[in-house]
């Protein structure tokens, strides 16, 4: 009956309750939307990095990550390859030759990372193939090269043009080769597009004089959340001559940034919650002051303070639950279509690309965040009602009954 009374009390002043409800709905919808957007942005940043060149797991010769020089190639790449082939959690891998060097056109030159790849393997671990915007992906041609759009702009070259790549060889000489540009790619990261080129692995191995060796294995796991299991398994099998890194080890700044972002979202949610709390306090106080006489009667007929307190808390809680329900629906109605179509922020494209995020953000709803939001709002509503309820039970029955 107390719940029934609380429910009816809510609707005795529909306009006031509606205002509280709207504020809870807007607050929750805002939380769901901003959480979705920030999640989407963070996920995109992470998955873009993973899909560009980081992958889920990288395997190198021990010490390569600290000192990326030509001679630090993997001691026995066939052993690594067989280890990966027998691991059921591994979806795909790509062997890479790695070198830093200079790429020169007729008009300009630029420092680059030259990846030597087996095109079919690489297409299974990165999105470079699907990012070709002009020309085509690497085929079987020995002197083919694909470069990023930003780099092409800097060098003043286009598909079909010739360029020269130079890098230190294993012997310490300068090795160079001429390539023909067969494709230009554009990814969501302008930095990557400016710095990265791909050639055939065989060509780069010859240029660097490293035989048939590779510097890096890029691995994609079937389930990236189990990547630590894969890492431990691979590490154990390969031994100490190798270093195995997950994307979390390779992208510490991004992971830190994501954690920071999560915390800042929490702070934002708390700010939204605080604003709501004051709104609810104000409304519930009005509601309490309007009913002082009624509370006096309830006290006179023997209602205990604890029940009176509970009744007012119930009112706020019901509003919170109701607002949460409607807010959740509104938030999802906004979020779900956007999760498919994305939000086009192309006016900020340059800035977003420098962060490794595309111009279109796809909100990502996390069940954890939704649960938090759903629990958060009724909690906020109850917090907002504590003081008004306290004011109500502090009334003296005689004062309350005679209140005009």
């Amino acid at each position: 009956m107390l719940l029934k009374l609380a429910w009816r009390n809510i609707w005795r002043n529909k306009r006031r309750s509606f205002i509280v409800l709207i504020s809870v709905v807007v607050g929750l919808a805002a939380i769901v939307l901003t959480d979705g957007l920030s999640n989407g942005m963070m996920s995109q940043m992470l998955f873009n990095q993973i899909n560009l060149d980081v992958s889920h797991l990288q395997i190198h010769k021990n010490g390569f990550d600290r000192n990326k020089i030509v001679k630090n190639f993997i001691p026995d790449y066939k052993h690594v390859e067989s280890t990966l082939q027998t691991n059921p959690e591994v979806e795909a891998y790509s062997k890479r030759v790695f070198a830093t060097g200079i790429l020169s056109s007729a008009s300009n030159s630029s420092g680059v990372i030259i990846y030597g790849i087996n095109p079919d393997e690489e297409s299974k671990v990165s999105i470079v193939k699907s990012s070709i915007i002009n020309g085509k992906y690497l085929g079987s041609g020995k002197r083919e090269i694909i470069i990023g759009k930003k780099l092409a702009e800097k060098l003043g070259v286009e598909v079909g043009d010739k360029i020269v790549a130079m890098s230190n060889t294993l012997k310490g000489d300068i090795g160079s080769d001429a390539f023909r540009i067969i494709g230009i790619f554009q990814t969501s990261s302008s930095g990557f597009d400016k710095m990265t080129v791909y050639v055939q692995a065989l060509t780069e191995q010859e240029m660097l004089g490293i035989g048939d060796n590779y510097h890096e294995f890029a691995v994609i796991a079937k389930d990236y959340t189990k990547i630590n299991l894969v890492k431990n398994n691979v590490e154990t099998k390969l031994g100490s001559d190798y270093e195995v890194f997950t994307y979390r080890d390779l992208l510490p700044m991004l992971i830190y940034q994501m954690e920071l972002y999560k915390e800042s979202m929490m702070i934002l949610n708390v700010i939204i919650g605080l604003a709501l709390i004051f709104g609810i306090i104000n409304t519930m106080l009005m509601s309490v002051f309007e009913r002082i006489r009624e509370f006096g009667v309830l006290m006179a007929i023997g209602m205990k303070n604890s029940r009176l307190y509970l009744m007012i808390i119930f009112e706020a809680f019901i509003l919170g639950i109701f607002g949460t329900f409607v807010g959740l629906i509104c938030g999802l109605l906004l979020d779900i279509p956007l999760a498919h179509s994305g939000i086009n922020l192309s006016i900020f494209a340059t800035g977003l690309e420098s962060f490794g995020v595309g111009a279109v953000i796809y909100p990502v709803l996390s069940i954890g965040n939704l649960i938090n939001a759903v629990l958060f709002m009724p909690f906020v509503a109850v917090i907002g009602a504590l003081y008004p309820a306290y004011k109500a039970i502090k009334l003296e029955p005689i004062y309350a009954i005679n209140y005009v």
Partner: protein, 224 residues
């Protein structure tokens, strides 16, 4: 059997820092089953005395004994328990809970006692039938006349079988015919259920029907 006793009761209010003597040295004993009217002109202290006797207010000096127990120094929680179990209140302005129907208003105090839903519904309907207001069961206060509301208020006051019902100017907002019917009802409850009634009123009809009359003047008992 003595149900209520007031001993040297004094109530002094502060009105903007000026002390106002509302009640002075009241001594009073009420026995079980009495039908008492406290009368007197406006400002004589009728409502103040009723509030003190009903444990709604505390005296400045003196003691109130309810069923031989001194209730003057009791905590808010204990007083609330006494009001719930032993007392019933009827107010001048009816004071029904506006969002509850008549039957729910009557059930409310039973709910506070923890009586199960089905039992309290049955009991409320039975009482409403007895008071001739069964047809009002599902009406809200704003759908009832003053007289109907006050009958529901009477039902609410007596549904928990209190030892004592305190009625503050219960007929003040009613026409004389309706007031007469209401008084009949309370007299009936007094004689049939042996419920003690204490009224505060300056309504002649109420005073005329008093089995015991206490007249207050300037905060003192003039005649009892």
């Amino acid at each position: 059997m003595e149900i209520l006793k007031a001993e040297n009761l004094v109530k002094i209010y502060q009105d903007n820092g000026v002390p106002v003597n509302a009640l002075m040295d009241i001594n009073l004993t009420i026995s079980k089953g009495e039908y008492v009217v406290i009368a007197g002109p406006s400002g004589s202290g009728k409502t103040t005395l009723l509030n003190l006797l009903g444990a709604l207010d505390k005296p400045t000096k003196g003691k109130v004994y309810f069923e031989t127990e001194n209730i003057t120094l009791k905590e808010k929680k204990e007083l609330s328990k006494i009001r719930l179990h032993k007392l019933g209140f009827i107010f001048q302005a009816y004071n029904l809970i506006p969002v509850l129907t008549a039957i729910e208003n009557i059930e409310f105090s039973m709910m506070l006692l923890g009586i199960p839903d089905k039992v309290r519904k049955e009991k409320a309907l039975e009482l409403m039938d007895e008071l001739g207001i069964k047809e009002l069961a599902n009406k809200r206060p704003n759908e009832m006349s003053g007289g109907q509301q006050q009958r529901v208020a009477v039902a609410r006051a007596i549904v928990n079988n209190p030892s004592l019902v305190l009625a503050d100017e219960p007929t003040a907002n009613l026409d004389s015919v309706t007031a007469g019917h209401l008084l009949d009802l309370m007299e009936q409850m007094n004689s049939e259920k042996n419920i003690t009634f204490i009224f505060s009123s300056h309504d002649k009809q109420v005073i005329d029907r008093a089995k015991r009359l206490i007249i207050l003047k300037d905060g003192r008992i003039e005649n009892q």
